[in-house]
Symmetry: C2
Subunit: 298 residues, 2 copies
Amino acid sequence: MLKSFGELKAKVLAAGQKKVIALASAADEASLEAIRDAQQALGVECLFIGDNDSIIAMAEKVGLDIKSDNIIHTNSHQQAAELAVGLVRDGKADVLMKGQLPTGTLLKAVVDKDRGIRTGGLMSHVAVLESPSYHKLMFITDGGMVTGPNLEQKQAILDNCVTFAAGLGYNMPKVAVLAAVETVNDKMPETVDAGRLAEMNRAGEIGGGIIEGPLSFDLAISAESAKIKGFTSQVAGDSDIFLAPDIATGNILSKALIYLGGAKMAGCVLGAAAPIILVSRGASAEEKMLSILLAMAV
Amino acid sequence: MLKSFGELKAKVLAAGQKKVIALASAADEASLEAIRDAQQALGVECLFIGDNDSIIAMAEKVGLDIKSDNIIHTNSHQQAAELAVGLVRDGKADVLMKGQLPTGTLLKAVVDKDRGIRTGGLMSHVAVLESPSYHKLMFITDGGMVTGPNLEQKQAILDNCVTFAAGLGYNMPKVAVLAAVETVNDKMPETVDAGRLAEMNRAGEIGGGIIEGPLSFDLAISAESAKIKGFTSQVAGDSDIFLAPDIATGNILSKALIYLGGAKMAGCVLGAAAPIILVSRGASAEEKMLSILLAMAV
């Protein structure tokens, strides 16, 4: 269990492993700022793929020192995506990061059958949040990739997240499968899926964590609420992973906590051969930097 | 537009109208506490339906003074529900409130064809939130009644909420139809509905407010995020009403803001002949009291 991004950072620094990021279409101000900060704070290395002159100009603007050996020139987004993915595939980079190119262009290179870095499973998004009102990091999934997951896809999303958490040192994360209520109700299909996932977990069909569901959000995070409602569970009030019923719920939940709840966020795409940093246009430099930290920690 | 519950309270006090609440199965500690506080702060009156002795005992416990004329004795939840609904139907009470009885029992009496208080339209829930990080009250709907609304039901939910807001003095509330993204995408049916609602609004088919959608949550509440994303809209960054794609999203959003975002909430069921106060078991006395305030304000 990790209490904060500060604890995560200490862990990364203690491990002392040098990680390399491949930044696709690197002439992107916010990305270069994040790389600059991550170099200083974490000693990360970066390979910059994109238009040579634009990268150098943008790097100068944000005060980032780039060795010319670390730039791989191309002026096509598609080629930048393919080259960056190739670096990860060939073991020359540990993390793939999206710069100034459309998300679809990067993902197309990622999922390419012959030259991509898919592992065969479903790719999903995790948002790791540090809320000033919760006692540890929250892993919210999936508010960014899989639009309307069915039961099997929810299992895959969960599996990606549990595996990811294991890489961060979580032995047995507590998983809340979120819904509006804590009872299975046929009129709310998400409660049926949630009940099924919890059942499969109890039967040993899904491992790696303790799964409880359906759980209302208050039960997932508040021990007091669980007490008032007479709900006894190892997960209630102490959840690590929050499985959202769909992309809208996961996305809105994360953004509510960030924009109105003072939470900090790091985001990562899971399920490929390496973590992929794919932050939204509205993301702050801090979010980009924390996302690099997260990807480095695995 | 209302900035806070404080402003709402001032409005209610200024109006000086005496409102009467019918409390079904009134021997409920938290409800009686809320009535006690609402009597002191707002001068509300209450009719208590339920077991006479239990009500008197519980009222003494919480320090609430009850005139014996205001108690209507019954020891059946079903009868308490029917009597309370009857008081509203006959104009003897302005607001219906759930005490210590199952929600289903109360709603059954509400929707009874002959003796209920349905008006024919869809009944829906609104959660009104005061977040310390947002500049005005947020109306989130529907996280409590309608499980998986289709387009027509979303329109009815919106209509209930706009009518309710009009009763609070909103001439032209700004409505954000929430989704994960701000573009219509067939893979996310909620974005299709959202786009359709906004279209119908522009075509004059839905009135009473300015509807924008789909909107991601950050665009709905943050003018800065709208600026970064180059999104121009009257609603973005200044939404009053937040239409959730489904009950899970609405419920989880409200609870995230309450439990981790320091927000205060009042809840109300709309679409019947009178507002219905139907707070959850986990609700604080403050939430119950604010819900009374909200119901009185209309």
